[in-house]
Symmetry: C2
DNA sequence: TCACCATTCAACCAAATAGTTAAATAATTG
DNA sequence: CAATTATTTAACTATTTGGTTGAATGGTGA
């Protein structure tokens, strides 16, 4: 297992992006399908500009992709960085092996 | 699937704690076994006080526990919050299902 | 007790974060 | 073209973060 300093900055921005409840909520929203900025902003109690900035943080971390579509910007989730975060966490699963086993079993069932 | 606002602040501090390379390195170090503060600080190119603060961030996120042991403070990893982070990420695994499958297979082998 | 060792605390600083409002940009429709 | 709609940018502010140095705390051993 070699060190991978080149991944480090990626993990920084991925975990940083996930560290804000608004951004996690945006990811949850996008898990339901692509959406444009104002639709995503609607349930949040802050300005559109603020949501726009949060989306930029998510985009820079690679968690979402944004495509201009007419005058609308369509955002959709990209799971790749989530996978990277998952991968990092998994290295330490020995410290919660019991929970890991339970989760694995749970997924096993769901995953059919 | 109910909302769990009470977990939100926890996830904030967990992901926030993981978002810094020094703190992830400290976790990697502690994965090798408990250690005291100055031992942990030694490989890092910053003051002991700075490492001490990083350890406090990890402790507040619940990722480590610190027990006074004589004049030394012994730190050890607690995987529970890692499990919480893992759990959150897992909700979106449908967006990286292929990688998830590959990882699962990989773990399957390693996990015997 | 005295000196030492491990660690934290306090004060400070620069940079980043998260929000605001108002103006700018750019596509759409009448 | 003019008005509208969607979104970003700019400028500003308050707070947090991540680092520093130096002093304080508190256990250990001579």
């Amino acid at each position: 297992m070699v060190e991978r300093p080149e991944d480090d900055a990626d993990l920084d921005s991925i975990f940083q992006a996930l560290a804000h409840p608004t951004r996690r909520a945006l990811i949850e929203q996008l898990a339901g399908g692509p959406a444009n900025v104002s639709t995503l902003a609607e349930p949040h109690d802050m300005s559109l500009a603020a949501v726009s900035k949060h989306l930029q943080v998510l985009e820079e971390a690679g968690l979402i992709e944004v495509e201009p579509e007419g005058r609308v910007r369509r955002c959709h989730l990209d799971g790749t960085p989530l996978s990277a975060a998952f991968g990092w966490l998994t290295r330490y699963r020995i410290f919660w092996e019991d929970r890991f086993d339970a989760l694995e079993d749970h997924l096993e069932q769901e995953h059919q």
